[in-house]
Amino acid sequence: MSLLRVENVSKQFGSLIAVNGVSMNVEPGELRAVIGPNGAGKTTFFNLISGFLTPTAGRVTFDNEDITHMLPARRVWKGIARTFQITEVFPELSVRENLRVPVEVAAGHRLSPWLSADDDGEIRARVTDLMDMSGLADKADRLVGELSHGDQRATEIMMALALKPRLLLLDEPTAGMGDQETYDIAQLIRKLHKDQSLTIVLIEHDMRVVFHLADRIMVLAEGAMLAEGTPKEIAANETVQAAYLGKAAA
């Protein structure tokens, strides 16, 4: 049974059709990459899943529930967490505080006027776990706005993970990173996927990362789906090569 089913979704902005009848099924535990040239509609497609935008046509189902028009916060409660192409964190708060907010939300405390000592202890422990997992522990009390781009990206991913999602959407997690940072983030994503069998959908431009991580790949071009399959199938697909990989690999 698919965890996420996207059926024929379209999004039109005036006369521009950004996403045109795209479908996708993601199985539990799968890591799906969405690739495509700039302007292919990848981020718009992501926004339709996370609720940043609602589709003009089509349907999005998560865990057998129609979420097409559900508010973003509600989708998060259902288990969908996302990161953004341009890092979205709380720059004037420390790493610890950045992580604490989603940990508290996930623990059902978003409206709590106070925490018991037990709850507080559990939340602190969970924040520490998340920092250890991502190598942010030694920067716990630094303001996130002062950290390197790579550490900010890592913080954002850990914030999404703090929500204990069942589906993690990563929009270009390695954008703007150097080789070492890219490698670190790829390892982190791989660890989340393998160790916790977390279902992940990611948009990525770096083909090394995509072919290293993905179980299946979907290729978008000009708002429509061009191809879908395993990394091997996509690598061998001539339409894809012509439209995209050929240029990127050259």
Partner: protein, 318 residues
């Protein structure tokens, strides 16, 4: 304790020591009890506004409405219903809070300047009601023929009516409860969601925080405490007039918060103190006192965007 927490702790102790001893040293430097009370009352109003402005990141330009409702609430209660200061404060606070809670859902979807404009518009509605409804509110002449009542505690009676110092301490107790509650909320998980919204609304939304709902709650809390301040203000003057509801009064609260430092918990109190003292001193020298306050405000905003307390913090840190 790390240095930042230590500084915050020291600041809190100093503020409370100054407030607790104010009636004793204020006359020595040329002040008087009512002046001290006014600082505390308007400080509470500015801190309530700052709960929204500094900690949730939402600018209200209509807080005078709830301040004024608190003021009229206490005045009307004592004049027409129950001659009791305590009941009056509770009634004023309830009226202001309920009005805020009802108006909230209509405005929390708006952001930035649109939010500010609509808060002004709603504020003016209350101003015109108070202005026009002469038979009940006294209209432009204000609500007179009432005064704060002695507080009967059973075993003793506190004469806040004639003893200005006793009234100051009553105000300070109410102030302490209100400010303590705000500090408590800001340290809670809910308070952290407000700071998250201020820092990055989009991120907050996609961390599962229903932003509009949280802003509505923060707005209502802020309206509640500003109406407490309004009730105390009316008791201080034994009088209310529609200017307490007028949008320029809202502007004064914003000036106090920004002047003192809207990113600091105590900043708006300092801003209120500067504002009230400048007003008191300059208005005895010139009719155009507001232009001097305005000039001071512009200079602070241009050169010290974190307010006067921001300057002090930087000095302490370096």
């Amino acid at each position: 304790m790390n240095p930042i927490d230590y500084n915050k702790y020291t600041a809190t102790v100093i503020v409370w020591l100054l407030l607790l001893t104010m009636p004793f040293w204020l006359p020595a430097i040329g002040g008087y009890s009512e002046l001290g009370t006014r600082v505390v009352v308007l400080g509470l109003a500015a801190m309530s506004l700052n709960f929204l402005l500094g900690y949730t990141g939402v600018l209200s330009f209509g807080h005078a409405a709830y301040f004024g409702l608190g003021a009229y609430g206490v005045g009307l209660t004592i004049r027409y219903l129950v001659p009791s200061t305590g009941v009056g404060i509770v009634a004023g606070t309830l009226i202001g809070t309920i009005a805020g809670a009802i108006i909230g859902p209509m405005i929390v979807r708006l952001r930035g300047v649109y939010f500010a404009m609509v808060t002004i518009a709603f504020g003016q509605v209350f101003f015109f009601i108070a202005f026009r409804w002469h038979s009940v509110t006294g209209g432009d002449d204000g609500l007179t023929d009432w005064s704060r009542m002695p507080i009967n505690l059973g075993f003793t009676t506190i004469d806040i009516q004639h003893d200005a110092r006793a009234f100051y301490y009553l105000v300070l107790v109410v102030f302490a409860i209100a400010v303590g509650a705000m500090a408590w909320i800001l340290r809670s998980p809910f308070g952290r969601t407000l700071i998250a919204i201020r820092e990055n609304e989009r991120r907050a939304r996609f961390l599962g925080i229903p932003v509009d709902q949280h802003i509505w709650i923060a707005w209502t809390i802020s309206c509640c405490f500003v109406s407490v301040a309004g009730a105390l203000y009316a008791l201080l003057n034994n009088f209310v007039d529609p200017r307490a509801l007028y949008w320029t009064q809202s502007g004064d609260f914003v000036i106090m918060a920004v002047l003192g430092g809207m990113r600091s918990f105590w900043g708006p109190l300092l801003g209120a103190a500067i504002f009230v003292v400048l007003q008191d001193y300059l208005s005895s020298q010139t009719q155009n006192w507001m232009s001097f306050v305005g000039l001071f405000f512009v200079l602070v905003v241009l050169f010290f965007p974190r307010g006067v307390l921001g300057i002090i913090k930087r000095k302490v840190a370096s």
